[in-house]
Amino acid sequence: MKKLAIGLYAAVTAGLMVWGYYQAIYVAPNDAMQGEIFRIIYYHVPSFATAFTFFSISFLGSIGYLSFRRSRPEWAQMADAWALAGAEVGVVFCSVGLTTGPLWARRAWGIWWTWDARLTTTLVLWLIYVSYLLLRRFSAGPQMQTLAAVLGIFGALDVPIVYMANRWWRTQHPAPVFGGGEGSGMDPSMVGALLWNMLAWFAWGALILVLRYNVERKQQKIDEAEATAALNA
């Protein structure tokens, strides 16, 4: 039953992604200023939206692990699995965003990269979560989960500070497209394509996230069984 549900969900997700692609490439009109290259926004923005959501899940998972590790070990293990899955899948989506960004910038700005507020913040965020994954890889045993949770909290605290630091420094990234000042906003003919892609990529990310979570839970149970077997032997 569970497998069937996941299979159905995966099929719907695949359908959504095909539909999103069709909307982005064929339905949405060219941008008046940028031409074809602006279509990358349909992949760039959803990737980052998904990545930031998953990093938040990772942050919550870290807090959850530290809160429950003494009182409810089972919940703590679940929280830890969410923290890991969120960080891992978030890094993948963040990498997609960090790749599509320079592709667009090369055409629109004439340069691949600039050390601007949002670009730097995102890169630092990416670095922090990669270091989080490295910590999980290099440390072993049960204390690793605690240490990773602490680092997860430190990393999340760092992000707003990096953002403020960079805002005072220099900024070149386009002002927020939505809810910004004058001249912001998208033509209604483009919004549909963006929302479809947002939904499709989010559904796809959630699928991977849940699969990764399940794998980690299984791994935890195997480790636990092995530890118990070793104790009884």
Binding site: L66, V124, L127, I128, V130, S131, Y132, L134, L135, F138, S139, A140, G141, P142, Q143, M144, T146, L147, V150, L151, I153, F154, G155, L157, D158, I161, V162, M164, A165, N166, W168, W169
Partner: protein, 222 residues
């Protein structure tokens, strides 16, 4: 200041005084970084004023990692760490003592390095020089308080010396940026460093508080 903090402080200072390992290695290493940068970037004229702040901060950062790696490694021998864990004193005091000690070491290195730095880069300070007395300690504190905390966090892992740099540097980036911008502003005298000093102060307060709160979790993690 409580007695536990004082005891840790005196003990670490005494150990360092007997060997001077940390200070000598840091001093030589940061001196090397300064020389290497001046070879790599050929600092002359106005250009040297612009990059000097960054070189000073990065040299401090790299050098302090060698001391930070030693900060807890000393406690591993003879199971001193386990004894510390069993001691009834709160872990936060141990952390604070180590942060203060390493802060002193790095500051000593900065003071000793300063004359060479001025000579190699032909510096003259165009802005308000006394502000450096605010910027450098604040930046060093940001580096050391996070560094000692992460050294404790990385201690139980494989290749812990590498891991410390890997997790410390990304978190330290905003403080590094503020430190570089503030020292740059003071050296060139072209802009006002106050905003960056406030940022450093905020960073120090936030991360020192969180470190002190979470240290027992890391210290007793098993």
């Amino acid at each position: 200041m409580t007695r536990a903090l004082w005891t840790h402080l005196v003990k670490d200072l005494r150990i360092e005084w007997r060997s001077l390992d940390a200070i000598i290695s840091m001093l030589f290493f940061s001196g090397l970084v300064v020389v290497l940068f001046s070879i790599a970037f050929d600092p002359r004229g106005a250009f040297s004023q612009q990059i000097a702040g960054g070189v000073l901060c990065v040299a401090t950062m790299f050098a302090s990692v060698s001391a930070l790696n030693q900060a807890w490694a000393r406690e591993i021998r003879h199971q001193v760490m386990d004894a510390q864990r069993m001691a009834p004193a709160p872990g936060a005091e141990l952390l604070l003592a180590k942060v203060i000690v390493n802060f002193l070491f790095v500051s000593i290195v900065q003071v000793a390095l300063a004359p060479f730095f001025f000579i190699f880069y032909n510096l003259h300070i165009a802005g308000q020089a006394w502000l450096l007395l605010l910027v450098l300690p604040l930046g060093t504190w940001a580096l050391v308080s996070n560094g000692v905390f992460f050294a404790a966090l990385a201690m139980s892992s494989r290749n812990r010396e590498l891991l410390l740099s890997l997790i410390l540097f990304p978190i330290f980036i905003p403080a590094l940026l503020a430190m570089v911008q503030a020292t740059g502003a003071i050296f060139t005298g072209e802009s006002d460093p106050m905003l960056w000093i406030k940022l450093l102060l905020g960073y120090d307060i936030i991360f020192t508080t969180v470190s002190l709160l979470l240290f027992d979790v890391v210290f007793h993690a098993e």
